[in-house]
Amino acid sequence: MTKHKEFEELIQKCLDREITVDENISLQLHLSQCPDCSLFYNELVSAEKEIIDMVEVVPNHGFNEAVLARIKTKKVPAWAKIATVLGSAWVVSFLAFILIPASRDLFTRILFSSPSIVKAVAKIYFVGSTLARIVTPFAKSQLNPTLLVVSILLSVGMFIFFGKLFSKKETVWNT
């Protein structure tokens, strides 16, 4: 504390970067004449300088990578999504026809006993598994109407294809 409250306030104002030109002139004049205020001013200025000079600390190595890893949303290209959905739909529906029921023997036996039932069950299974394959990835990501329409159209195509394949095999096994 100094004896000159008024100049003490001006010093604070100076450090606040709010002092006017005129105020600064009068302050500097006073500082040159008053050792008390001059000391007060110098001590405050040197404390400020020390604050400015405080070293900056950095976080550990790998910080940038950690931030980037957290913000990265991997962008899967549209074609890759389509390929995955339709490819898996194709594989599952094909396998459904070939492997279900469990073995081919069983499949054939049942087929001979009541072909129409098996045919119906297999078709239902195919539709179910295909739809599940298509719908699940959609449910996980966001619903893309275009992709959905394309998938359904292709599924219908596959359905007809397997249906024809099925009836051919039936003919072969029957002979």
Binding site: D16, A47, V58, P59, N64
Partner: protein, 184 residues
């Protein structure tokens, strides 16, 4: 001014997802934000977590950032908010400045002085750093934002969400306290 324009370009690139732009922002703000948080909470590990969260939150919501405003003020606001959240969660003392007059707060500061944490032990503290630790966390923030970051009272008011007059009063007191501690 030119620097600010350049920063605006970087932010625009970052919004587009440019990794180099993210790194550029990280490298220019990481030491400042980390030091700011560390000096407020005085724990290296927690400061690192808060700084990480600050950048993640900042980058994720970069699209919503109003580019007519100052990026620096915005990122400091995020850092300050996360710091307060942390101090609240860990139930450490933090002042709610808007509710009480400055005199009362001064008493509260001395009563609830925080125990020394690992920051004190890890870093060989300079005289000014030791003096800074004698201030309340909020005053440390004000001092750093004003003197080190050269923020205006208006910007500090935006970051800390307290009135400019309160900031000014507290800064004047903090300066005197620091002066006493450094020279005494």
């Amino acid at each position: 001014m030119r620097e600010l324009e350049h920063e605006k370009d970087i932010i625009a690139s970052a919004v587009e997802g440019d990794e180099h732009a993210y790194l550029s922002l990280l490298n220019s703000y990481k030491p400042r934000i980390f030091s700011y948080v560390l000096r407020t909470i005085r724990n290296y590990h927690d400061a690192e977590e808060i700084t990480l969260d600050t950048f993640v939150r900042c980058f994720k919501s970069l699209k919503s950032f109003d580019r007519s405003k100052t990026f620096s003020t915005w990122i400091y606001t995020i850092a300050h908010n996360l710091t307060i959240d942390f101090l609240r969660k860990s139930r450490k003392h933090y002042e709610h400045l808007d509710d009480r007059p400055a005199d009362e707060m001064e008493i509260a500061d001395t009563k609830t002085k925080e125990p020394a944490t690992d920051y004190d032990k890890q870093v060989k503290l300079s005289k000014i750093e030791q003096a800074m630790l004698q201030l309340a966390p909020i005053d440390r923030e004000i001092v750093i934002l004003f003197h080190k970051e050269e923020k205006t009272y208006q910007e500090i008011s935006t970051i800390l969400k307290i009135p400019e007059t309160t900031i000014k009063t507290r800064l004047h007191r903090a300066r005197l306290k620091l002066k006493e501690l450094c020279t005494g």
